[in-house]
């Protein structure tokens, strides 16, 4: 564990006087699972928004594989290999489940209008690959998202399955880093335990590096190599789960409150 895959340098952002995030400084190495925790409004989602290019930092830098991501459009960030999910599940509701994972391979494919109109060999081959990769990614979650589900609209899915599809959609972009924003929020204990296992597999079997925002301390403990704790935009602790969970500042800011406080 040496290569700095993602390096966050003194990252800050203010929204009209509100310091949503100030001087966040940390890094993620290839193959790590890092958790970002902190109470609601701590600035965790804003942090993800900055990495994925949806919010521009006021100061600081985000370096991915030695290159700054600042100023890139979200689609360019994704093309460089960082995919994300959304806290408030945002699927393409009127597209089918298969289409959801097919469309997110957009930046990895290149056939244009002419290919589609003349059904060239290249087009058919690419289409086949897109479909196969999509089904493979969906297959990661067992039988829930495949079979007859493939051609159903995403809107018929249950809440837990929507969350799974969000992760599948991020996986389909063939990223190196996946940002998971509260992946188990709203799931029952059984589902969340299962997903925790899958997150481990995402790294071990698929080779993704993972940054995860999570409220469920059980999940955080089970999978994370390291933990970053934010509160009111400030970084109050960094380190292994055990180090962080015994830090008095963290206990006061976060663990002291009921862990169920989901948003």
């Amino acid at each position: 564990m040496s290569e700095r895959l993602l390096d966050i340098q003194n990252l800050s952002v203010t929204f009209g006087g509100l310091n949503a995030l100030s001087d966040l400084d940390f890094h993620v190495d290839a193959g790590e699972i890092v958790s970002v925790i902190g109470p609601n409004g701590a600035g965790k989602t804003t942090f993800f928004n900055m990495i994925s290019g949806m919010v521009t930092p006021t100061s600081g830098d985000i370096v991915f594989k030695g290159e700054s991501l600042l100023g890139l459009d979200p689609n360019q960030v994704t093309a460089r290999g960082i995919a994300r999910t959304f806290q408030n599940v945002r699927l393409f509701a009127n597209m089918t489940i298969l289409e959801n994972v097919m469309v997110s391979q957009h930046c990895r494919t290149k056939q244009g209008i002419m290919g589609a109109l003349f059904q060239t060999g290249g087009f058919k081959r690419e289409e086949q690959e897109i479909r196969e990769h999509g089904e493979k990614v969906l297959g990661f979650f067992g039988s829930r998202l495949v079979g007859f589900r493939l051609n159903q609209p995403a809107s018929v899915l249950s809440y837990a399955n929507r969350r799974r599809l969000e992760i599948a959609r991020a996986m389909a972009t063939k990223p190196e880093v996946i940002l998971l924003d509260e992946p188990v929020a709203g799931m029952n204990p059984k589902e969340s335990e299962e997903l925790t296992g899958l997150i481990g597999k995402l790294r071990d079997e698929w080779g993704f590096t993972i940054v995860m925002i999570e409220h469920d301390m059980g999940v955080v403990r089970d999978v994370s190599d390291r933990v970053v704790v934010l509160d009111h935009g400030e970084t109050i602790a960094q380190g292994s789960y055990d180090e962080v969970s015994s830090d008095p500042a963290v206990i006061e800011a976060y663990l002291g409150r009921p862990a169920e406080e989901a948003s």
Binding site: M54, C107, A116, V156
Partner: protein, 608 residues
């Protein structure tokens, strides 16, 4: 579990409530709405102007139909009970009838008041239709008292009928609806049917159904009713099963299409025009031109979610480019190219215009984009009309003597020959359908849909939304320019007045009524709206409606957005949510039975 999906049988059945246990306030309100609607329709003069258009001679005309559907619809609406799964549902009975009668009677009283006022007051100054002819039609020429009493009783009766639908079984309801629709639709299509029957030598059938002076005969209406009943009872069930099978097949492999249906349509497209007369060919040509436009706008609005209100600009670009390129009398530039060569220039100009208009607007908020594109549409029209550009466009004089369409030297399509033009239009519509279908099922089309669903998420999933939207814009522009080029060749001249904003709006209505994003729906929308009601400057089959068609377009648009955003042919996807297919359940639920997944039991509809 699937039976709970059927709303008719849902819920626990409770005994009927007392006949007079009513929410009277609500009834009076709806009665007044009924009265207002009846008075409004009367004052638009529909009863008088459409009286000449007979549906069943001598029983019913379009004029009276414009009134009588109102109490029926409201009587039915006001007695409808929204039943959610698991809630108590009351047994229908006298109560529904009383409610229907009350609403209808209040409405009728409103109309009676109008009749009395028509007789005693003169409000013809602002209200142009306030005249004796209207009074005559409303009172059947039998005097005020007769008319007033007739309408109170008739309207009450119609309201009663509306309420009574709830007492009938589902199949009876379907039968009545089928009979009514068949008769009204057949009567609407009268002139087209006349034309078609001549082509197929079926005059005897036409004469059996219709009276000489217009309208169905009573005998014809009975024949149609029997036909409708047979259709529902015998074919209806089969068709439904067939459709379910098709949907089911599509669930498994959505790109496969119904080849049999496609071949049938293709054969019809080739053969039909030969048997049609002038009038029908011309009508279908208009439908085709608008269908071409609508298919293009469907890509822009329906697939990519960009509300382009200046879409007519590309129609104009196509029309004017074709005119300038082919007409010997175009001022300024006049290369007199053959039409099929000009088409390449047209496509080029459409791409240029698409990029030029698209680039500045594509990053704007969706609603600003709508207004700015509308502005661009007007700028182009005003410029084309101005003296400044008249050196190329002929200004207000337009460009005349456009020769027909020359197809690669093989054939010359004369604008004056509707059959040839129709073939040309069909050819281009086929191209447009192919393009829409292929693109929809490609990487490009999926990106458009993602942008429509949620632009910022699409961006975060690696889609360059600006490029994606520009592509949609340009493809839409090209399809519209085809329509413009054919239009120029058909009419033989172009004037700026053919390219007003109105055209954009009418195309938008077609796309929305047809169910955004669905090719078949858009085709149905174009057929019904342009074919029967008529386009912005083109008469439809119901020529008597020309004065009212825009009013109806507006009302339809509001209605569609409020009640059935999915359009005439419901979006398969959305309806799939609501009606799970037995086929799929059989195939998959069993396989899933041991899966502990919470929603495997299906039938669950989560909010979007």
């Amino acid at each position: 579990m699937s039976e709970t999906m059927n709303t008719d049988e849902a819920g626990v059945l409770a005994p009927a409530r007392g006949a007079f246990d009513q929410d009277w306030r609500k009834l009076v309100n709806w009665g007044l709405i009924c009265a207002l609607a009846l008075i409004f329709v009367s004052l638009t003069d529909m009863p008088d102007k459409l009286d000449k258009r007979v549906i069943v001679e001598p029983l019913l005309s379009m004029g009276y139909l414009s009134l009588i559907w109102i109490p029926v619809a409201l009587g039915n609406f006001v007695t409808r009970e929204v039943v959610l799964e698991g809630m108590t549902q009351h047994k229908k009975g006298l109560r529904e009838l009383v409610a229907g009668v009350s609403v209808g009677a209040i409405g009728g009283a409103g109309l009676a008041l109008l009749i009395w006022l028509l007789d005693t007051r003169d409000l013809s100054d602002p209200l142009v239709n306030w005249n004796d002819a209207l009074l005559e039609v409303l009172s059947f020429g039998e005097g005020v008292g007769y008319g007033a009493i007739f309408w109170i009783l008739a309207s009450a009766g119609l309201g009663l009928a509306g309420g009574a639908f709830h007492l009938l079984s589902a199949i009876a309801n379907r039968l009545l609806l089928a009979i009514a629709l068949t008769i009204v639709l057949t009567a609407s299509l009268e002139s087209a049917l006349d034309d078609i029957s001549e082509g197929f030598q079926l005059e005897w059938l036409f004469e059996a159904l219709f009276e000489k002076k217009g309208g169905l005969s009573v005998q014809g209406a009975i024949i149609l009713a029997v036909f409708a009943i047979a259709w529902v009872l015998v074919l209806g069930g089969q068709a439904k099963r067939g459709r379910a099978a098709v949907t089911a097949r599509r669930e498994l492999s959505p790109t496969k299409v119904n080849t049999v249906g496609l071949v049938l349509i293709a054969v019809a497209a080739v053969v039909l025009p030969m048997f049609l007369g002038r009038l029908t060919n011309d009508l279908f040509t208009n439908v085709g031109l608008f269908l071409l436009l609508a298919l293009g706008l469907n890509i822009v609005v329906g697939l990519a979610g960009i509300l382009d209100l200046g879409y007519v600009a590309f129609f104009a670009v196509g029309g004017y480019t074709a005119a300038i390129m082919t007409s010997p009398s175009s001022p300024g530039l006049s290369p007199e190219l053959p039409w099929w060569v000009a088409i390449f220039v047209v496509v080029f100009m459409a791409i240029v215009a698409g990029l030029f208009i698209g680039a500045p607007v594509i990053r704007m908020r969706g609603d600003y984009l709508a207004i700015v594109t509308l502005g661009f549409g007007e700028i182009i029209r005003l410029t084309v009309r101005s003296d400044w550009a008249s050196g190329f466009t002929g200004g207000a004089q337009g460009i005349l003597s456009i020769p027909g369409a020359d197809i690669v030297g093989v054939a010359t399509v004369k604008g004056t020959d509707p059959q040839q033009v129709l073939y040309l239009v069909i050819g281009f519509v086929a191209i447009a359908i192919y393009v829409s279908w292929r693109l929809e099922n490609s990487r490009i089309g999926r990106a458009w849909m993602a942008v429509r669903e949620d632009e910022s998420v699409a961006e975060a999933m690696g889609i360059n939304t600006v490029n994606s939207k520009l592509q949609a814009f340009v493809v839409g522009a090209i399809l519209a320019s085809f329509s413009g080029a054919i239009f120029a060749a058909k009419v033989g001249s172009v004037f700026e007045s053919s390219f007003k904003i109105l055209v954009s709006i009418v195309i938008l209505v077609i796309v929305i009524v047809g169910g955004m994003g669905r090719i078949a729906g858009v085709a149905a929308g174009a057929l019904v709206l342009v074919g029967i009601l008529g386009g912005p400057n083109q008469p439809g089959l119901l020529a008597e409606f020309s004065e009212f068609k825009l009013l109806i377009y507006g009302a339809l648009l509001i209605w569609m957005m409020l009640k059935r955003p999915e359009g005439l042919i419901p979006n398969v996807r959305r309806s799939r949510e609501l009606h799970q297919d037995e086929f799929l359940q059989d195939a998959w639920l069993k396989a899933q039975a041991n899966d502990d997944d919470d929603e495997a039991a299906s039938g669950e509809v989560a909010p979007a």
